[in-house]
């Protein structure tokens, strides 16, 4: 079945068939949602900070990204359902054992708050209600951007499950870079200082966590640096590095700021697709199930 390759560990399987079922989550729906949710969550924080220190252009842009990202993300998630008409079944119960249940409630609350803040911002009506909604969104935003790590890790998919220590920070960094990067594309540089700082911090964390996953996971790091997911993640790193360098060297130029911000947002999107596809690759190959489990059994046996 498998041609012998001395560099590969030996393992036995049933006709080389996968043991796990590959996730049925669709592309681009779910990786797109991961990116949109992360950007929206970080933007809500940025918007509230901008409101506090009176940077109106940044506040306005970040409120739009928060509401727009949450709205589009919700649409992507509903579209991914096998029975989209039953999306409200998500809110039948609340289950802490299901990150998707926790996330559905989070997303519902965040989208409501962020949309209210955005409507108030655009129409100028009910400014106090809008501000309160913005504070609620800022409080929920970070959780919205990081719970998706538990969503992926809390599966039997080897490359996702074993990365559960890094994924939340990776997604937090990626979301910060994307949210702040999107704001930089439209906000004049003299109002975008906080966005620039958050963008660079996010990109640094993203690159560092990518590195941490590939160096800690051993054999299960392979899907993160091989094949298509490997290419996507390399491209993501290139975008992050280029975006961060651009911000640091030319952030006060409107054009450089906008291009750097777009690079960081694109990097975040590539990161989500890369991580998503790395998981699919690890679920498809029985090697990633059998070999680590055999090693675990051998270690337990002493």
């Amino acid at each position: 079945m498998n041609t012998p390759d001395p560099s590969q560990p030996e393992f036995r399987s049933y006709y080389g068939r996968p043991i796990l079922k590959k996730p049925v989550w669709k592309q681009p729906d779910v990786p797109l949602y991961l990116a949109l949710g992360g950007a929206a969550g970080a933007s809500a924080v940025l918007a509230e900070g901008a409101a506090l220190v009176d940077l109106p252009a940044l506040r306005r842009a970040a409120r739009m990204v928060a509401a727009g990202g949450a709205g589009l993300g919700t649409a992507a998630l509903v579209h991914d359902l096998g029975r989209p008409a039953r999306f409200l079944h998500m809110l039948r119960v609340f289950k802490p054992t299901s990150p998707l249940s926790v996330g559905s409630w989070l997303l519902a609350a965040f989208t409501t708050a962020a949309s209210a803040a955005a409507v108030a911002e655009l129409t100028g009506t009910l400014p106090r209600v809008g501000r309160l909604a913005g504070v609620v969104a800022a409080g929920l935003g970070p959780a919205l951007g990081t719970y998706t790590a538990a969503l992926l890790s809390n599966t039997a998919v080897p490359a996702w499950h074993e990365a559960y220590r890094e994924l939340p920070y990776w997604f937090a960094g990626s979301g910060a870079a994307a949210g702040a990067g999107l704001a930089m594309t439209v906000v004049p540089p003299d109002q975008a200082g906080p966005a620039r700082r958050l963008a660079v911090a996010g990109a640094v964390v993203d690159v560092a966590m990518h590195q941490a996953v590939t160096s800690r996971l051993g054999m299960l790091a392979e899907p993160y640096h091989q094949g298509r997911p490997g290419l996507l993640l390399q491209a993501a790193r290139a975008c992050n590095v280029a975006g961060a360098v651009g911000v640091l060297l030319g952030g006060r130029s409107r054009a450089v700021s906008a291009v750097s911000g777009a690079a960081l947002a694109g990097g975040s999107l590539l990161t989500r697709f890369g991580v998503f596809q790395a998981g699919l690759a690890s679920a498809e190959d029985p090697k990633y199930v059998v070999v680590p489990q055999r090693e675990r059994l051998a270690a337990a046996a002493g």
Partner: protein, 318 residues
């Protein structure tokens, strides 16, 4: 719920003859749709896997190993073929074992190779010949004690019944698909064109009226045994002991241990080789075992993100 004992399946693969009556009975009783018609070349296995449209799946494993001829004696098929459990037997087969497994006709239960070509001709001892061992096993949903599919289901569609089994309520399932990658055995799957997920219900409707599941009822060799889980575990332990006494050292239980990573399976197996040979994970663990730690990391990351957001506004104003 508490006074109904937990029920399960004990699938004794040492007496499975690969007839697939279980697959057919399941399809008919549960009205499970067709799952594609193709010839895979994987021995007699054209079902390939458990999925939304196959709730029982009979695996066929053909193994061959060179016969090690011993003048005037037969060879222990099981030992020779199983390099993991019995290393070193190829060079010097144990005479007592050998006689037990192949030569003793009275113990039919240990005659495991279906296409038995018999003892090698001592006259042709110099030619390298092979003998085939056929492993057949009827796989099914494990109805785990700690069921990941049930834990991660966001709608409450998956639930635990009064019999201790795990069942999908099809009128609730919205096809989110979270249970699919959560299952450490790759059992539950989404049905194409329908969108919802489906798997073995252990014939919940039949259990309700005191009947046994269709697969167990149809099994002609009692390879699939249905009953109260505690009693099945005792029966299985006795069966393994019996096989070991008969020299079948490779017999082992899979999923019978309540201390394993899923708290033991409601449907467990007696296997004659490593689990992965049958397409089963060697050490499955329910993913939610690590969820508390995952939530801690998610919380820390969220606090970190909020702090970074606040920090980016501190100091220089623009």
């Amino acid at each position: 719920m508490s006074d109904t004992p937990r029920v399960g399946f004990f699938t004794d693969t040492s007496i499975c003859i690969g007839c697939k009556a279980c697959e057919v009975a399941c399809k008919v009783w549960n009205d499970v749709p067709e799952d594609g018609l193709l010839l895979t070349g994987m021995s007699y296995d054209n079902t390939q896997q458990l999925d939304a449209n196959s709730w029982r799946h009979v695996a066929f494993v053909e193994q061959s190993a060179p016969i090690v001829p011993v003048l005037g004696d037969a060879v222990d098929t099981a030992d020779t073929l199983d390099t993991v459990a019995a290393p070193g037997t190829a060079g010097a087969p144990d005479t007592a074992d050998t006689a037990d497994t192949v030569a003793a006709p009275a113990r039919s239960a240990t005659d495991l190779g279906m296409p038995n070509i018999g003892a090698p001709d001592p006259q042709s001892a110099t030619t390298v010949d092979t003998q085939v061992r056929w492993l057949m096993s009827s796989d099914v949903c494990k109805h785990c004690t700690h069921a990941a599919c049930l834990d991660v289901c966001p709608t409450g569609s998956l639930f635990r019944t009064e019999f201790g089994t795990v069942v999908v309520q099809e009128d609730i399932c919205n096809g989110c698909g979270y249970c699919v990658p959560a299952c450490p055995y790759g059992v539950i799957d989404q049905r194409e064109g329908d969108g919802r997920v489906f798997k073995c219900t252990m014939c919940y409707d039949r259990l309700g009226v005191g009947e046994q599941p269709a697969c167990a009822k149809a099994c002609p060799t009692e390879s699939i045994q249905f009953g109260e889980l505690d009693e099945l575990r005792e029966r299985a332990a006795a069966r393994v002991e019996q096989l070991h006494d008969q020299g079948v050292d490779v017999a082992r239980l899979y999923g019978a241990d309540p201390t394993d990573g899923v708290g033991g399976d409601g449907a467990f197996f007696l296997l004659l080789d490593e689990p992965e040979v049958y397409g089963l994970p060697p050490d499955p663990v329910v993913t939610t075992r690590d969820l508390p730690s995952m939530w801690r990391h998610v919380g820390l990351a969220a606090v970190g993100l909020l702090s970074a957001g606040v920090a980016s506004f501190v100091g220089r104003r623009r």
